[in-house]
Symmetry: C2
Subunit: 460 residues, 2 copies
């Protein structure tokens, strides 16, 4: 068996998948297993070596990308080539200008800690839709599948107090295509856009691409101030009231009311990005501004990547009646971007109450994980750092007085195998975010200990 | 058995699925089957009544949308409600301002004539990807999955002469998100955009949304003329050279060379939308302009909806080196819109040679179907109409001298159960397009006969 002489060392500092990848590559290049031979199954390697299936999958996937292995559906993995020729100007290579660092403790926000039971359940729904012939062989509805819009109207109303009929809901593959749609619908009305600082970079990117005039608005401890709104002469306000970055908590209801009053008085429009709005575990979620307003002056944006699976790109928006009418008059000239099959799977998933069940479970998991992370940070960094929970972002925030900036600290941590998220701050202090969504609870202590070892020499 | 007293009449003029839907709804409202009861499987109804599974699925789907049935994954369909209350202001209804007409003969372009073998093969690839744990629980690459970009670079080069490394390829869920990206990257450089007339409406929509100045360019029998390009002072030219609408055939190579010369001389940029560029069956495909140019002044756009399944929204573009560099510098601020699972399924599908196999089969099928449709149109309309094949659009074009315009004729045909695509023309004549991609060969004669009966009274 090819994996018999493979020894993996948990303490080597190299991630397990990387060690496995190196070992298998070496064997293949040594001629055994030979080209054309079938590789042992992921399950089998996982059992024999006592590593997770994900580890084996990552190693196999990398070997596939590089052309050593090939995956044949419903059959398995086969050796494709023993030596990969790298000709100088080969046009079929992915350039290595962004090599993936070897991350052992990932406090980044790219993964979620999915239990296999969740994955299996979601797969069941996708498979069920996939087996329906008419769905796969026809185009989807440009506005999004009607079944899903019905469910989203119900779900948004129930969980977030969103006031919308399915007719006013538009689905898209993430917030960006929806914001592009909004910019197109608003036309000249979107001349000046006000944003919070820091702003969600993907949103700011869209406003810049549309060459709108962007104004960063002054904030106090409750978020954007009404004074700033009136004096800045903006037409549109883009907000994350459930997840105000600079506050680390939702914007209070009183401030929300003041902002809505601004929109009412000046004929302004608010784009409410409710990223992770429902996923709160310390307090009850604050209902959406769109619902407070009745949906006349607020466009509501909701998304599912953290609530479901990050690979599923389904977002939605609820448009005010007049914009919804304009959208429908142009509708056939817009293509739907979100996968039809995943949309229909999500519709049935919501209809069956699965999303609420999942939300309850995630609240419990994240509540426990966040407490663990905060207590570990307190244990290691203690009084030398500011430690704060950013609940909706699923992060702990670590502020240190430091000779280096956040990016430099994050790079040093990454070089040692710990991924954290640098956050822009002024000179003399650095702010790092540690997401607890992706990392396993049992890896947290060692990750925090290592981070402390690396960054404490730079800090005062 | 609930379906025993169901009689379906092929000659009733009502589509079979609609008859089935009506019968089942009547039974449910009559209390048998009762709420909570399990419905017979699609396969069983299909066999017992001798109708296609698609027909049963369409009926069940409609009943699900309306709330009479509910589909439980891996289990089946159940009766959910016997009476649907329609309260006046209910916010959970999809408004009926666009009722679906009852189409018996569909010469529209919304479906493809998918054989179940094709569907099964595609499903096999999706299922295989779906079973990989790491893929479902992590975000995709913003530029598109590396495996797929490697395959697209190879595929584009092989089939369309596209000159690009995987690094310069960007994937998106259709042409619209990619055009939005292009407009954002070009910034002020995209001030004036030249288009053909008629232009692909989804592309024109994006340019209008970005508030660019749009110039419709004059054309001769080879397409857009170089004179027009020089005199119009445009910065960017958007073209469908494989599928020039006004020509009904690809733009000849000599004209392509003249347009490339314009780009070279004036520092202009060409966006080459190669919709269906590879899917030719009467002649060999003309290689892409991007390949002629070497990829410096041309952005190549390719798509898969007609080559694969319409439900799969995967398009790609090959950027010139300078724009690719600009894109990568901003890359992390853009989200990928295309489904990660479908992208990886497509990568393996291409790698295994399935797309070339499918292309060969589609060429044969469409060659036969197009000949049949043209001969039927000649038989019924003969010398009273202009009849032309629009090869890449998978359509036959029917031009008639007529007191009504195209839209009125298409509406009259639709009312009688025949869907055709109206095409804008001047007064006194009407142009209809009939797609042969979706309709079954055996339905074509009756469809053409019916169309002739309806529109000949209006025509001279």
């Amino acid at each position: 068996m090819i994996y018999e002489p493979i020894f993996l060392d948990e303490k080597s500092g190299l991630p397990m998948y990387r060690q496995l990848y190196d070992s298998i590559k070496e064997k293949i290049c040594g001629g055994c297993p030979a080209v054309g031979e079938k590789m042992p199954s992921i399950r089998r390697i996982s059992e024999e070596l006592g590593v997770s299936r994900t580890t084996v999958e990552q190693a196999y996937q990398q070997l596939c990308v590089e052309g050593y292995l090939v995956s044949r559906p419903q059959s398995g993995y086969y050796v494709e080539a023993a030596v990969i020729e790298k000709s100088a100007g080969s046009s079929n290579e992915i350039s290595q200008n962004e090599p993936e660092p070897l991350v052992k403790y990932d406090f980044g926000s790219r993964y979620i800690d999915a239990r296999s039971s969740d994955l299996d359940l979601w797969r069941k729904y996708v498979r069920s839709v996939l087996s329906r012939e008419d769905i796969v062989s026809s185009y989807g509805h440009y506005q999004g599948e009607p079944e899903l819009r019905v469910q989203l109207a119900r779900f948004g109303s129930l969980l977030r107090g969103v006031n919308s009929s399915p007719d006013r809901i538009v689905i898209g593959a993430g917030v960006q295509p929806l914001l592009s749609l909004i910019c197109g619908l608003l036309g000249e009305r979107a001349g000046r856009v006000g944003i919070e600082y820091p702003c969600f970079p993907h949103a700011e990117r869209v406003f810049r691409d549309f060459r709108l005039t962007i104004t960063e608005l002054g904030q106090d401890k409750y978020g954007v101030t009404p004074q700033e709104l009136y004096s800045s002469k903006i037409d549109v306000l883009y907000l994350n009231p459930s997840n105000t970055e600079s506050l680390g908590r939702p914007m209070p209801v009183s401030r929300r009311a003041q902002l809505l009053e601004w929109a009412e008085r000046t004929d302004g429009l608010i784009i409410e990005d409710d990223y992770n709005g429902a996923l709160r575990f310390r307090s009850r979620p604050v209902p959406s501004m769109q619902g407070m307003d009745g949906g006349e002056r607020v466009i509501y944006l909701g998304s599912f990547s953290k609530l479901l699976m990050p690979s599923v790109r389904i977002s939605y928006m609820a448009l005010p009646p007049a914009l919804a009418e304009l959208y429908r008059s142009r509708g056939a000239a817009y293509n739907q971007t979100s996968s039809k099959i995943e949309q229909l799977a999500l519709a049935e998933f919501i209809r069956d109450g699965q999303i609420e069940k999942r939300l309850r479970r995630l609240r419990k998991i994240y509540s426990e994980k966040s407490e663990l992370l905060i207590s570990l940070l307190n244990e290691y960094f203690g009084s030398t750092a500011g430690i704060r929970l950013a609940e909706t972002a699923l992060c702990a925030e670590l502020s240190v007085s430091c000779g280096k900036d956040s990016r430099e600290l994050a790079a040093a941590a990454l070089a040692a195998g710990v991924r954290v998220i640098p956050t822009d701050t002024g000179k003399g202090s650095a702010k790092l975010r540690l997401s607890f969504a992706g990392i396993a609870s049992e890896d947290m202590r060692e990750g925090v200990r290592l981070l402390h070892t690396i960054i404490s020499p730079y800090c005062r």
